[in-house]
């Protein structure tokens, strides 16, 4: 039940750098945010987008609308929060086949919604779900899609100005979709903050019925293996990551990284040479050709901070670097640095954290 793209959404005229919106697209209005509901939880990036979307909607004097897809009876919380986080309207599609994300039914429903209700802008999170879906939807609608934005704005003419990093973060560019609708973008998680929730705030709910016979959907979900039941790394999603580089000197010393991670309940990883030397498995590599991480705290021990490593960790809220070389490039992007021998600092740090956490735990238990 995959559909081939139909006629182009706009005339085949040259995508000029001037806005010349074809007549049939002028009806497209309002800002939509896809609310990623998975296993009962909405991904925080959706709320971050509601915050950004609210600002755009206010500037343009249009509605901010959330879109929730899910199994029957699972969307109520998301709908309430949609309004709580500033939505004016919430589109809801409930169907048993939408219980977990799958590309086919989700693409079908999203394109159907867009064609029927005609939003001017459609925003999604730059998560695996958002990127998987956005690429399919934009191609089906034959419209422009800007990936992984770090900033969203509107220009004087009311067009979406989506800013994103390119070339591994060495440049930023601002991208427009002037003559096609909707204007689509995915936004990188954690670059915007989640707005304040106003409980009890309400809005208009628009329910949309779809026909989605399960037997027409070819891809089946056999199982879901939650993280924690697998012993694979969960680096990309971890709140705290401790990692080591060649400065750890040998595989035995690398254990010091894991010790600290153990005390913190953190994930552990490392630079590429460690994978090449076999000190850590491939899925623990952090950086351009490894994992991109966005933890709240990143502790890098004995890592020089090459650009390929840097692009994978730059999104961390707080970067702590331990390196013997005060000129190491990592100090250009770390927030806090210690110029010292990591093999000495790490054990001390593990002890300090252990004590501090034990103390805090007893204190909070006492309260």
């Amino acid at each position: 039940m995959v559909e081939k793209p139909k006629a182009p959404a706009a005339g085949n005229s040259r995508a000029n750098t001037k806005k010349e919106l074809p007549e049939h697209l002028k009806a497209y209005k309002h800002i939509w945010v896809m609310l990623e509901l998975e296993r009962g939880v909405v991904h925080p990036v959706s709320w971050e987008l509601m915050g950004e979307g609210r600002k755009l909607a206010d500037k343009l004097k249009v509605d901010l609308c959330g879109v929730v897809l899910g199994a029957p009876g699972t969307t109520d919380g998301a709908v309430a929060d949609c309004f709580g986080y500033g939505g004016d309207v919430c589109y809801v599609v409930e169907h048993p086949s939408l219980s977990d994300y799958r590309n086919e039914p989700y693409t079908k429903v999203m394109t159907e919604l867009v064609n029927k209700y005609q939003p001017e802008t459609l925003l999604l999170g730059a998560t695996n779900l958002g990127r998987d879906l956005a690429g399919s939807v934009a191609t089906t609608l034959l419209t422009g899609l800007t990936a992984d934005c770090t900033e969203l704005d509107v220009d004087a003419e009311g067009s979406l100005a989506a800013t994103r990093p390119t070339f591994g973060g060495s440049l930023l560019c601002t991208i427009f979709t002037l003559n096609y609708r909707p204007q689509m973008a995915t936004m990188r998680p954690r670059v915007a903050s989640v707005p304040l929730l106003t409980p009890g705030r309400t809005g208009r709910v628009i329910r949309h019925d779809v026909s989605l016979p399960e037997e027409d959907i070819i891809t089946k979900i056999l199982a879901f293996l939650p993280d924690g039941t697998t012993n694979k790394s969960n680096l990309a999603y971890a709140d705290i990551v401790v990692s080591g580089g060649l400065g750890m000197q040998n595989a035995d010393n690398y254990q010091l990284v894991r010790d600290l991670a153990g005390v913190l309940g953190a994930e552990w990883g490392g630079s590429r040479p460690l994978v090449q030397k076999g000190w850590i498995p491939t899925d623990r590599q952090i950086g351009q050709t490894g994992k991109t991480i966005r933890p709240r705290l990143y502790i890098a021990a004995g890592i020089s901070g090459a650009i390929q490593h840097r692009v994978g960790v730059e999104g961390a809220d707080l970067i702590v670097a331990i390196n013997t070389d005060k000129n190491a490039p990592i100090f250009d992007f770390a927030h806090v640095g210690i110029v010292a021998d990591a093999t000495k600092v790490l054990p001390a740090l593990t002890e300090t954290f252990r004590k501090r956490l034990a103390l805090a735990a007893t204190r909070s238990a006492a309260e």
Partner: protein, 284 residues
């Protein structure tokens, strides 16, 4: 079995410099590499071929010099390489790229048989969009499996594939029918070196080079700048981080004191962490 792998030649981002005045990328002299993410997909394709037989065709759209990347893929062991190159494709965004590659793959199918799987990289390191893979799938009316961590089962006779797909908070075990489009997650395998026989074959092989017309692409309005709905209006260098890392004093201090100072600095900058860490820490 026929497998098509889409690879892209990209500038080695580690060596890119930005012109201080014009803010443009200085590509001159910057070495190019095969998009590293594509190698995970290529390796997976080669493994399937080695196990189930058949052929791997690598394809790319790019400038004439992209043949270097393709030749390298042959050295790794791919069976055939096709380069789509034409000035009409200059300035393509992801929509126009997916159109061109979709058409190219149609032509490849017509010439050497329809592919059972198409592999793309998760994303590129220059465009960084992760959109072209899903775009190609849509253009070709194929099912897609993105962010695949592992091919769990591959039944060529039944035309079925089961994969582990990375999702939020866990892994989806998905089963679908061939043909489909797969993008592999990074770090799932390691690119082989290629044997001497492969290297010799690659050195001798011709890279099949097609123009738009050769690939049967006639609707040039859907290609290049013309076919690209997105418009890059401004390119600029990110504002440099104002200051270097705050340095914890180390001179003459015990490691204990250094660590205390560090903790103070961490909690000062991320106050919420102190509480949350207690919840996260496994019971100390």
């Amino acid at each position: 079995m026929h497998i098509v792998v889409c690879v892209k030649q990209v500038p080695d981002s580690g060596q890119i410099r930005v012109h201080p005045v014009t803010n443009t990328i200085m590509r001159q002299g910057v070495p190019t590499i095969i998009n590293p993410y594509d190698l995970f997909s290529l390796e997976e394709a080669l493994r399937l071929r080695d196990k189930h037989g058949g052929e791997v065709t690598v394809v790319t759209m790019g400038p004439p010099m992209a043949d270097q990347a393709l030749r390298k893929c042959l050295t790794f062991g791919a069976d055939r390489a096709v380069l789509l190159t034409d000035r009409f494709f200059a300035g393509s965004d992801t929509l126009a790229t997916s159109y061109a590659l979709g058409q190219l793959i149609e032509k490849v199918s017509a010439t050497w048989g329809a592919p059972d799987i198409i592999f793309c990289g998760k994303q590129t390191i220059d465009g960084d969009t992760a959109q072209v893979g899903p775009g190609i799938a849509k253009r070709l009316n194929l099912l897609q499996l993105t962010y695949v961590q592992k091919i769990e089962d591959f039944d060529f006779d039944k035309k079925e594939i089961t994969v582990h797909r990375r999702a939020e908070g866990g892994i989806q075990v998905l089963k679908t029918k061939l043909p489909c489009l797969v993008t592999m997650l990074e770090g799932t395998n390691e690119m082989r070196r290629g044997t001497m026989a492969d290297a010799l074959r690659a050195a001798r092989a011709g890279i099949i080079t097609w123009s738009a017309a050769d690939a049967g692409i006639t609707n040039l309005a859907l290609c290049g700048l013309k076919g690209s709905p997105t418009i890059v209006k401004k390119v600029f260098a990110p504002p440099a981080r104002a200051e270097k890392a705050f340095q914890i004093e180390v001179a003459d201090k015990s490691y204990e004191d250094i660590c205390d100072a560090l903790l103070g600095e961490v909690y000062k900058r991320q106050p919420a962490l102190e509480q949350d860490m207690v919840k996260m820490a496994p019971g100390y």
